[in-house]
């Protein structure tokens, strides 16, 4: 049966729900920002259209998760998205890392292999999470998950296609892709973890356990690795920190100051 926000306020369950919602919202928020930095720089114009469309959908998902936080009284959507410092953020560190050297306005030397691998890994892990959320005990979250899942279908199809095609292209493409896999694997554990409150999230039926989600993610990815003839990584790490407990890199601070620049001019303005 679905739970209502009121019922939970009484027994302290709300903190576990809000923790989960912050992870979902912050993940989508920062990865779609990194996606938006690719606008005009993608390998060809069709990809520019596709990638920006995916980033727009993903920002829409972040907005919905922030809305669910607003609905349980945590704060206003815009403030949650823009005015929280990096130490308050719960996104996986993998998603905040810069696209590559340079700046999108000045000499961007972004790494397309990293973009493809990071987005493929992320989208697959998100798909598993969202499928689990479809049966969440918190009904408003389950309703949003049904909607997100339909859009994710197209995102995963897109990134899986790029991933396998560049891997199978051989030569320089293969070398760069394998290098990108190593970079992503070094921080992918940070995406898979539900953080210190994960156990309670699962006990309350908000989402499946971290172990179940991880196994499902790995099971979904293994056949793809077999098809491209690449050994599946034996372990994942959190080399640059655990974002679920507020550990982040300077890359996130830089991103936040850029993306919140307009908001900070006048936080009470309606845009």
């Amino acid at each position: 049966m679905g739970r209502e926000a009121k019922e939970m306020t009484a027994n302290n369950d709300l903190q576990f729900l809000s923790e989960l919602l912050f992870q979902l919202a912050d993940d989508d928020f920062i990865i779609s920002y990194r996606g938006s930095e690719w606008l005009g720089l993608a390998p060809h114009i069709e990809e520019d259209v596709a990638f920006s469309s995916i980033s727009q959908d993903t920002m829409g998902h972040a907005a919905m998760f922030y809305q669910l936080l607003e609905d349980i009284g945590v704060g206003k959507v815009d403030d949650l998205a823009h005015s929280r410092t990096s130490t308050e953020r719960k996104n996986a560190v993998l998603l905040e890392l810069v696209n590559g050297p340079g700046n999108y306005l000045r000499q961007p030397q972004y790494d397309w292999a990293f973009a493809v691998v990071r987005n493929y890994f992320y989208t697959q892990a998100k798909k598993i999470r969202v499928e689990s959320l479809k049966t969440s005990s918190y009904q408003p979250l389950a309703d949003v998950a049904v909607k997100v899942n339909m859009e994710l279908y197209y995102h995963l199809l897109h990134w899986k296609t790029w991933f396998t095609q560049l891997m199978m292209a051989g030569g320089d493409a293969r070398t760069r892709m394998e290098k990108a896999v190593q970079t992503v694997v070094a921080d992918f554990e940070g995406m898979l973890t539900l953080g210190p409150k994960g156990k309670e999230m699962a006990e309350l039926g908000f989402i499946d356990t971290e172990e179940v989600l991880k196994t499902r993610t790995i099971n979904a990815m293994k056949p793809i690795f077999e098809s491209i003839n690449l050994d599946f990584p034996s372990t994942f790490e959190m080399k640059n920190g655990n974002g679920r407990i507020g550990q982040h890199t300077a890359d996130l601070d830089d991103a936040l100051s850029t993306l919140s620049e307009v908001y900070n001019i006048n936080p009470v303005a309606t845009w």
């Binding site: 069709e46 259209v49 596709a50 990638f51 469309s53 995916i54 727009q56 959908d57 993903t58 920002m59 829409g60 998902h61 907005a63 919905m64 309703d143 949003v144 049904v146 909607k147 997100v148 899942n149 339909m150 859009e151 279908y153 197209y154 199809l157 897109h158």
Partner: protein, 164 residues
């Protein structure tokens, strides 16, 4: 008088509210209108967003309010976006499918093949010889295709279903 406004009148007014990015089709024919409730002077309209990041939602909301205020300026209009049931592309009406073609957009295919792939006929010449150029189009709900029959590029509304 408010009491004179029945549901049919409201539906007719909502027919005048078009998709801001496809102005040949109304939000009714897009299947976005889920609920219409009237309680005295208050009218509540429940809408289903097609895609969650759609930037047209605020414009649609504003246009709904304008259209209903035109019926009676004393009405209080409450527009809600809800997610259950989710919008799916099979909610587009028969009329809506024709209006999409008028705009050069093929209506969403009704069936997917076993691999999740899909094909649509050209909205201009109805040829089946079409190819997918880009699954992602100029707006979140559209894809870009090419007709080998009449050699026109065209768009199609993406199929969206809970089976995905």
């Amino acid at each position: 008088m408010v009491t004179d406004i029945n549901k049919q009148v409201i539906v007719e007014a909502l027919h005048s509210v078009k998709d801001p990015e496809i102005d040949s089709i109304s939000i009714i024919d897009l299947g976005m209108v889920e609920g219409i409730e009237q309680d005295g002077h208050t009218v509540t309209i429940q809408l289903l967003p097609t895609f969650m990041g759609c930037p047209a939602l605020d414009i649609i909301k504003k246009n709904v309010i304008t259209a209903l205020k035109a019926l009676d300026k004393n009405l209080s209009i409450n527009v809600q976006f809800i997610y259950s049931p989710p919008w799916t592309s099979d909610r587009v009406t028969e009329e809506g499918r024709e209006r999409l073609k008028e705009f050069g957009i093929a209506p969403p295919p009704r069936q997917l093949d076993e691999n999740g792939g899909w094909a649509v006929n050209c909205p201009y010449c109805d040829s089946v010889y079409t190819t997918m150029e880009n699954l992602f189009g100029p707006t979140a709900c559209r894809s870009i295709l090419y007709c080998k029959g009449c050699k026109n590029p065209f768009e199609a509304m993406k199929p969206v279903s809970t089976m995905m």
